[in-house]
């Protein structure tokens, strides 16, 4: 295929993508002149260029579309659901032909289909919508009336146009030879006529949405990929070349790592090393940027999807999209296409209720699916939010038990979060709720597997009656990942940080006693719960380690499988460049790739998911539940801090943020130590007063944990933050009453800081509502 044809295909596809978005928008804004002009132009451009390449099928199809669109653009015809459906079908057909050109270099032949489509579009021009709908698009020969043969070539001579087609006065049945050239306006373009302000009542199925409702414009803010103005300053680059560049940058990163680890006494060398470090980081970022594409590339197909789904299910659904400009590595973007599509199908199919149900529940008949993308550190978050009924915990529980994914007893004990996790189990969403829309066999487990395959995470939230949120967390790039380097029998292995949750070290004396066994299954008691262990040396059939040797356990969570990987030792975490594996290594199945470490040694990158599967670590939520959950709500997470010389616990849910400040920032308001913080005064604990009076270095740093106490915020000065950990409630011997103010952290009884013991600020503080930023409802 020559370059021009390729260019034509690309441009036409982009044009159709834009058209698709605009068409779905048109449904809510049927008279929008700008939209109509855009849609017209997409088809017009295709038609204008096909002639150069001699694609006659495309030409006659786009010609018919152009005619209809011309009427719409000039306000001679008002858009309705039939017309939009017709145009969408046309678009699908055009896409089909483009695909055929792409794969076979030819347009393919389907004269009957083409004629039916052209006939349909012509009928739509007459405004006789009901007739048009009755014409099956793809039915071959279903149209009884003799159909004008498709012209193989575009006649050059300008044709006569009929008098105005009359949209409002339905004509008798159109004669077979109804003038095909209901051409676009004769008005010069500089004076586009206002479209007739008569959005006609559309047929019942059309889900007329209320144009008055403020909607975030789903497409408005996004420039189409070929946006005017950038053409001259941009360049198309083969993705292969970008991949190669990324590889080379990877090599450079490795070399840099090695150079930085090379000790040298020469001070100049260190300086050069730092500069190399900076330049490499910059270069890497630039190349990564070159591989980025806005998520709109994937989002753009969804308005159509939602529209078609909603029509099929007789629901009213509006799709709102946010953050379409958010960029993601091209390969990752491709990878989330299917999971996202599935999630949106789910939201429309299972999330949003039928209009009747919604009205009965006091909600607007039209449901909203919101698709949102944004950056969060080195990740992109994509959320699919629906304002439907939320997920029924009972139904999930029942279904999971029915499918034997969990025992009835276990299911009873699960808390809400754990129950929601069940939907990600394989086999959960296969049979029952299969509608023609959600399809068969693809469940949320596939969504999770696909997302985790690219180092991402999936999370779900649901509120009864209010809807659900599915959240995908996707890394920005795949080529360079942070990893922990572990050693097993003096070999290096890299464990991707995304799978790593925590590390446990067992010293020589401890290994035997702390690693427990249930027959042949090795287990570790992590915070009181049993975690299956996998010994890397045994898995890889290395020479076995003495059973009492010290070891480290890397606690991993791979695709929902939690286990501890037992290794000989740990090295520093490193940013590693993922290199593909030779086939012979790939076949072993435990490795995700290979890399070269900073010290020049090679390391295989472990695939935590594959290892878990091989070791039979269950995907069932039971292990997860055992580790993260609690049965009676008695467990809570705490921030473990050192204050003064004592250890103390702050309930994690109250912690707002942790601030490092210089001592001199602590001031006195009345008799209380306070901190000016985000424009308001933050009351501090008593001990903070010591920092004001002490003669120590006023520039010394101290840590303040900002906590929520009821409706106000207070600050706790601590000497250091030690850990975040789960505590179990202690019971009084005999009575069984829960002990207050203390908890068991790391097997030590630890007192819980009482935030309410920090008194409120005195009202006399000058400057009015000093606490206003923090206490909205407290009386002054």
């Amino acid at each position: 295929m020559d370059d021009l044809t390729r260019e034509f295909l690309l441009e036409s596809q982009e044009g159709l993508d834009r058209m698709e978005r605009a068409l779905t928008d048109l449904e809510t804004r049927p008279g929008d002149a700008q939209l109509l002009a855009d849609i017209f132009r997409s088809v017009h451009t295709i038609k204008g260029t096909t002639g150069f390449l001699g694609f006659s099928r495309l030409e006659s199809l786009s010609h018919a579309g152009e005619n209809l669109l011309g009427l719409l653009r000039d306000g001679k015809l008002a858009a309705n659901a039939d017309i939009i459906s017709g145009l969408l079908s046309l678009m699908d057909m055009l896409r089909g032909v483009l695909r055929s050109i792409e794969t076979t270099d030819g347009e393919g032949e389907s004269e009957a289909q083409d004629s039916a489509m052209i006939e349909r579009l012509e009928r739509l021009q007459t405004g006789r919508a009901s007739v048009a709908v009755a014409v099956p698009v793809l039915a071959q020969g279903a149209v009884a009336a003799p159909v004008r043969p498709v012209r193989p070539h575009k006649p050059r001579a300008p044709r006569k146009r009929p008098s105005h087609p009359l949209p409002d006065t339905p004509q008798g049945s159109p004669p077979p030879g109804f003038p095909e050239e209901a051409g676009p306006s004769r008005e010069a373009e500089e004076s586009p006529r206002e479209p007739e302000p008569e959005p006609r009542p559309v047929p019942a199925v059309a889900a007329p949405s209320l144009p008055a409702r403020p909607t975030s414009d789903p497409t408005g803010e996004v420039q189409p990929p070929s946006s005017p103005g950038t053409a001259d300053s941009t360049l198309r680059v083969d993705v292969e070349l970008l991949n190669r560049m990324m590889n080379l940058v990877g090599e450079l990163v490795l070399t840099r790592n090695q150079i930085l680890q090379t000790a040298s006494a020469d001070p100049g060398f260190a300086l050069l090393g730092r500069r190399l470090d900076m330049v490499t980081a910059d270069l890497r970022e630039s190349v990564m940027k070159a591989r980025m594409q806005p998520v709109s590339h994937v989002f753009s197909r969804f308005p159509r999807l939602v529209r078609d789904l909603a029509l099929g299910l007789e629901k009213k659904v509006r799709l709102e999209m946010e953050g379409q400009e958010t960029e993601l590595d091209k390969s990752l973007l491709e990878a989330i296409r299917d999971p996202l599509t599935h999630s949106i199908r789910n939201a429309v199919d299972h999330g949003i209720e039928t209009p009747a149900v919604r009205l009965a529940a006091g909600k607007p008949a039209e449901g909203v699916v919101r698709l949102r993308a944004c950056h969060e550190g080195s990740h992109v978050i994509v959320e699919v939010h629906d304002d439907g009924a939320g997920m029924s915990l009972d139904r999930i529980r029942r279904k999971a038990v029915e499918r034997q994914l969990v025992t009835p007893q276990r299911a009873e004990q699960m808390n809400e979060r754990e129950i929601l996790q069940l939907i990600f189990l394989p086999g959960f969403s296969t049979a029952e709720a299969v509608t023609s829309v959600s399809g068969r066999g693809v469940g949320m487990d596939v969504v999770r597997t696909n997302v985790e395959k690219i180092g991402g995470k999936v999370d779900v939230e649901s509120h009864a009656g209010k809807g659900s949120i599915l959240r995908l967390r996707i890394p920005l790039t795949l080529a360079i990942i942070p990893a922990l380097i572990v050693r097993s029998r003096s070999q290096n292995f890299a464990v991707p940080q995304t799978a790593l949750t925590e590390l446990v070290h067992l010293s020589a004396g401890e290994t035997d006693s702390r690693i427990e066994r249930l027959e042949n299954a090795a287990l570790y008691r992590l915070r009181g719960h049993l975690l299956p262990l996998v010994f890397l040396d045994r898995l890889l059939q290395q020479s076995p380690r003495p059973s009492d040797a010290p070891c480290d356990i890397a606690i991993l969570n791979a695709d929902g499988r939690r286990y501890g990987l037992v290794v000989d030792g740990l090295a520093d975490p490193e940013e590693i460049v993922v290199k593909p594996l030779a086939a012979v290594l790939r076949e072993i199945g435990y490795y995700a790739g290979a890399t070269i470490l900073g010290n020049g040694e090679m390391a295989l990158i472990l695939n935590p998911g594959a290892i878990a599967q091989n070791a039979n670590v269950s995907l069932s939520s039971e292990t997860e539940e055992a580790l993260s959950g609690d049965k009676n709500g008695a467990r809570q997470d705490y921030l473990l801090v050192e204050a003064g010389s004592r250890r103390a616990a702050l309930p994690l849910e109250t912690v707002v943020r942790i601030e490092r400040i210089t001592r001199s920032r602590i001031e006195r308001a009345g008799s209380r130590p306070v901190l000016r913080f985000e424009g308001a005064l933050l009351p501090l604990d008593d001990a903070a007063a010591d920092f004001i009076d002490s003669g120590d270095d006023p520039e010394a740093q101290i840590t303040v944990v900002v906590c929520r106490d009821g409706r106000r915020h207070v600050g706790m000065t601590v000497s250091q933050v030690l850990d975040v950990t789960g505590g179990s409630q202690l019971q009084e011997a005999g009575s069984g009453f829960a002990a207050e103010g203390i908890t068991l952290l790391h097997e030590k009884v630890t007192s819980i800081v009482s935030l309410s013991s920090i008194p409120p600020l005195e009202n006399a503080v000058d400057g009015g509502p000093a606490e206003s930023a923090f206490s909205l409802e407290e009386p002054r």
Binding site: E11, H44, A188, E189, P228
Partner: protein, 123 residues
């Protein structure tokens, strides 16, 4: 010789670009009428501008009108590129000061014939 191509279609721009450069004509491209006008004023002089009719932001007709209102651009021949659907506009375009028009699709011979008819003599 220098030519300006104003078209929102990448395909058309590339096509014209390759035809022109094969003939040793330097080719500058713009994606809409507004950019085209800016090019005429700032990146000129051009012997000829090929201007598409239907473009976003500023249509070819609007660009033509603006260009002809600016007499510093009189030396540039303006050839409107249209499709058959726009035949009705041709007269308006010629009245507004276009030197020639050419209907898509066209080939190399057709293009250069039209350019000569428009009075582009450097070919």
């Amino acid at each position: 010789m220098r030519a300006l191509v104003v078209d929102d279609s990448r395909f058309i721009r590339n096509y014209l670009h390759s035809l022109f450069t094969q003939h040793g004509v330097e080719c500058v491209e713009a994606v809409d009428g507004k950019q085209g006008l800016a090019c005429l004023r700032e990146a000129g002089p051009f012997s000829v501008a090929l201007v598409d009719w239907n473009m976003p932001v500023m249509s070819g007709y609007e660009m033509l009108q603006a260009a002809r209102a600016d007499h510093s651009l009189d030396a540039t021949r303006i050839v409107m590129v249209t499709t058959e659907a726009e035949n009705d506009h041709i007269e308006a375009a010629l009245l507004a000061g276009a030197d020639e028009y050419i209907v898509k699709p066209f080939d190399e011979g057709g293009l250069f014939d039209k350019l000569r008819m428009a009075g582009v003599n450097e070919l």
